[in-house]
């Protein structure tokens, strides 16, 4: 009996020691600024590493579907290649300018959020792979977002599911331009604003990028119109767009770099002189 009590007391003190140390650790991290910063920085580094390892493990499981997707993508690219080849005979200058205007960097998604108001995607490529702030990010199915921060090996992408994301889009069926925003409710529903109500919009119309900003080339598919209404007294449609690329399953993406971005920005700054 006494022995049993002694064992309990002995082990109890070990448990108590661990509990007290956990309380201390929590207090240290919560109330001391320097320790707090170190803690969060290291957890971020470790979790990013963990995510990349986890992704590389999981990617084996869907190799088959990935393969199929890559085959279809290859086919599409080949098709595009042949069409441009046939056009080459007609206009070599155009082909050259298209070929050199955009540079494509493939990347893998290591972290992705959809449930927050401002969602971000983390990619496993960074400064070392030539990514810089302001580049566009797409997948083979559609538009994803814009790079906002880069580190040595990772980059952070503001996805279009973000309160500050405003992307100029075009309805090719009727030729009207609008701005694509997200209201923060459903990750499968985006809103296209500023389309005048006399435009002939129908359900199922495709929405593509306009190419007005040089972040994205024109004619990249964004999604399809699933619902449109006109609020009473409004001049514009309220259009709901379903993104073509579901944000719940992202693996491979492409970062788009416009080669002459600085040149265009420099030139457009000159416009301020005449205003």
């Amino acid at each position: 009996m006494l022995n049993a009590l002694r064992i309990i007391i002995k082990n109890g003190s070990v448990v108590l020691f661990i509990v007290l140390q956990i309380i201390c650790f929590y207090l240290i991290v919560k109330y001391n600024q320097k320790q707090n910063q170190i803690y969060f920085y290291s957890t971020q580094v470790y979790s990013n590493n963990f995510y990349s390892k986890y992704k590389s493990l999981v990617s084996y499981f869907n190799l088959k579907s990935e393969n199929e997707r890559i085959i279809t993508e290859n086919a599409l690219l080949l098709k595009k290649y042949y069409t441009t080849c046939s056009r080459k005979n007609i206009d070599t200058l155009l082909i050259d300018s298209i070929r050199f205007k955009y540079q494509i960097i493939p990347a893998d998604v290591v972290n992705n959020s959809v449930s927050k108001r401002n969602n971000t995607i983390t990619l496993d490529k960074g400064i070392k792979d030539g990514i810089s702030v302001g580049m566009g990010v797409i997948s083979d199915k559609g538009l994803l977002g814009i790079v906002t921060d880069v580190s040595e090996h990772f980059s952070l992408v503001m996805s279009i599911l973000h309160s500050k994301s405003r992307i100029s889009c075009l309805l090719p069926h009727c030729g009207f331009f609008g701005t694509l925003v997200w209201d923060g409710v459903d990750p499968n529903v985006l809103h296209l604003e500023d389309i005048q109500k006399y435009a002939e919009v129908r359900k199922g119309d495709s929405v593509v990028t306009s190419g007005y900003s040089i972040v994205f080339p024109e004619n990249i598919l964004v999604g399809r119109v699933i619902d449109l209404t006109v609020e009473s007294g409004a001049f514009t449609y309220t259009i709901q767009v379903e993104p073509n690329q579901s944000f719940f399953k992202l693996t491979h993406v492409y970062v788009i770099n416009h080669q002459y971005k600085e040149e265009k920005e420099w030139l457009e700054k000159k416009a301020e002189i005449y205003e």
Binding site: F17, I23, K30
Partner: protein, 173 residues
């Protein structure tokens, strides 16, 4: 037993007050103050009776550490280091156990077990305390040389003060 309780309580309280009102205000020359941190209040926990259950020592250590933290503005640091020291206490006691063993109400003080025994005992525990304190203060193992330097510098001064307190204040029983 009751007298022991009052004795220990008063001793811990006095040491805490000495620590937070006097030692905290001591600022040595700017370059050395970075390395020297005089901490002596753990003497109260070192001098608790040998027979006291270790979970009570842990709780006392946590409370006193937290008390010091609230004055130093380093919530959790001293408490954690003090709990580490309290956990190391039984092992150090076993390591330094005299051949005849401890008596039931033995106090680990210089008057009952000799000044050299006490010095060893207090040094081991203070080293554990200061080492964990400085590790937690820097919160990374990158600056391990700085941690060790701080530990040794602070330990030297702290143990001298502990020694003096033990000689001057503890009367022969």
């Amino acid at each position: 037993m009751n007298k022991d309780f009052v004795n220990n309580f008063v001793r811990i309280l006095l040491l805490l007050l000495f620590q937070v009102f006097i030692l905290k205000e001591i600022n040595l020359e700017s370059t050395s103050s970075k390395y020297i941190n005089i901490i002596i209040y753990q003497l109260g926990i070192i001098l608790l009776p040998v027979g006291i259950p270790s979970f009570i020592v842990l709780l006392i250590a946590f409370v006193t550490g937290f008390f010091v933290d609230s004055f130093y503005g380093t919530i959790g640091l001293h408490a954690s280091a003090c709990v580490w020291m309290a956990a190391a206490r039984p092992f150090v006691l076993k390591l330094l156990e005299p051949k005849s063993g401890y008596t039931i109400n033995q106090k680990p003080s210089s008057s009952s077990l000799g000044i050299f025994w006490f010095l060893k005992f207090a040094s081991y525990l203070s080293l554990v305390y200061l080492l964990f304190y400085f590790i937690l203060e820097v919160f990374t193992f990158v600056f391990i040389d700085q941690i060790l330097l701080k530990t040794i510098a602070s330990f030297t001064i702290s143990i001298v003060i502990i020694f003096l307190i033990q000689i001057l204040i503890n009367p022969k029983e």
